[in-house]
């Protein structure tokens, strides 16, 4: 049954991808990207990878759809007509695809327990992480403790994304006399958003601090919290959102999250361990792991929230300017 569901989902994924290639209307393409991400998330759920599915649903289908829509508000919704010939690219793609398929012939059988991927570090994580880290959610143990350095790198990548966007676009200060950008006439949206936004922020906090025990963590929580503020900015307008959390403050927040993460590593070195060795943070190694993971997940959450919201501010204020002109 699981294989049947997988096949149906993969077929829908392929159809969505083909539709994305041939459509010229970029607005529809963005919507199809959202559908694509949701289908991938469903496949991950079917593979019992709920943490990855959660990330894919919140980042891929949620926030990147919004960011792409704001980009379309700046650039227009029609794809530029390509003047290149398609023969050579098609040839390259066919050869690469054939090589990849040829490569899969040497792959070990799918899902076999003797596969290298199940023999290398996975058994150690499964057997030792309850004793070494003591978290029920092993994904968080691996992500935040065993591979803490990788996650620091990912957080820095997210941080450098906002540096890139801000140095290219910058957030334009909106003035009081600017025309009201909020959806003033949508009374229903106003009321419902006011009910929903606090609940979404509460859910983000739950995801943030429940990541040790269930699916979730800093990345998902940051994105969900950013989504709440983006909803606020969309419904009430950017100037009012700036009054709640300003872009300057968000820049400080984005840097503070990365610094919080890295300073945990430096502190563990100061206490005599390796970089990001949480065992040294407390007298009891397990308690130290708990402290370390909670603090670095908080750093990830703060950075992701600030970066996503700031990118939205940058795109949104530019789109607003091009609409005014």
């Amino acid at each position: 049954m699981a294989e049947f569901i997988d096949l149906v989902l993969l077929a829908m994924l392929a159809l969505t991808a083909l539709r994305i290639i041939f459509l010229k209307d970029l607005f529809a393409v963005v919507m199809l990207f959202g559908i694509y991400s949701f289908l991938s998330a469903l496949i991950f759920v079917n593979l019992d990878a709920v943490d990855v599915a959660f990330t894919e649903a919140s980042v891929g289908a949620g926030i990147s759809t919004v960011l792409m829509l704001v980009t379309l508000a700046m650039t227009g919704r029609k794809e530029k007509q390509s003047t290149h010939s398609t023969i050579l690219p098609l040839f390259v793609v066919l050869v690469t695809g054939a090589a990849l398929i040829y490569g899969t012939l040497d792959m070990p059988p799918f899902g076999h327990p003797d596969n290298p991927v199940h023999q290398h570090v996975a058994p150690r994580y499964i057997e030792e992480s309850p004793k070494e880290v003591g978290l029920p959610n092993m994904v968080t143990s691996v992500l935040a403790s065993y591979r803490g350095f990788d996650t620091l790198g990912e957080t820095v990548v997210v941080f450098s994304a906002v540096i890139g966007v801000l140095s290219l676009l910058g957030v334009r200060r909106t003035k009081k006399k600017d025309l009201e950008s909020g959806l003033e006439t949508h009374k229903v949206l106003h009321v419902v958003s006011k009910i929903i936004i606090p609940l979404v922020i509460l859910f983000a906090l739950y995801v943030q601090f429940h990541g040790d025990f269930g699916p979730g963590g800093g990345f998902q929580a940051g994105v969900i919290a950013a989504a709440a503020f983006i909803l606020y900015a969309l419904v009430l307008g950017l100037p009012k959102a700036f009054a709640v959390v300003g872009p300057k403050f968000l820049q400080w927040m984005a840097a503070a999250g990365v610094l919080l993460y890295a300073s945990v590593g430096l502190y563990s070195m100061y206490k005599g361990g390796n970089f990001l060795d949480y065992n040294t943070l407390a007298a009891d190694p397990i308690a130290g792991q708990h402290y370390g993971i909670i603090i670095i997940e908080l750093g990830v959450g703060i950075t992701v929230f600030a970066v996503m919201l700031n990118i939205f501010y940058a795109f949104g204020s530019q789109a607003e300017r091009s609409n005014i002109q």
Binding site: L183, T185, H186, V188, L189, V192, I195, I196, L199
Partner: protein, 110 residues
């Protein structure tokens, strides 16, 4: 089979039926507003029925509470999204089927 299981399957099947009919309506209805109508109305009832069916499958613990929260969230957000969609289309100047073909309107009025 348990009594609850039977009720749950009936609810799930009814939910699937309404979801499917919404999809058919989305494809077959003639213009934007009727399509939004088909999708949004069936979506709400399908969400109620499917989550109601799933509620009976739980052992009435934390999962039940989570499903109830999801149901409440869907019941608030999904009609709002449809409303915003239709209102934006209206605001953007899209006319309904009756307004674009006045002859049909007169005939139906008779």
């Amino acid at each position: 089979m348990d009594f609850l299981d039977i009720v749950s399957s009936i609810l799930l099947l009814a939910g699937v039926f309404f979801g499917f009919s919404g999809a058919v309506g989305l494809f077959r209805f003639p213009d934007f507003f009727t399509r939004v109508h088909a999708a949004s109305v069936t979506d709400s009832i399908a969400a109620i029925l499917i989550i109601g069916g799933l509620l009976l499958q739980t052992s009435f613990d934390l999962n039940t509470a989570k499903l109830v929260f999801i149901l409440l969230f869907l019941l608030v957000t999904s009609p709002t999204a449809s409303h915003a969609l239709a209102k934006s289309a209206r605001h953007g100047g899209l006319l309904t089927l009756a307004e674009t073909s006045p002859q049909d309107k007169q005939e139906s009025a008779k």
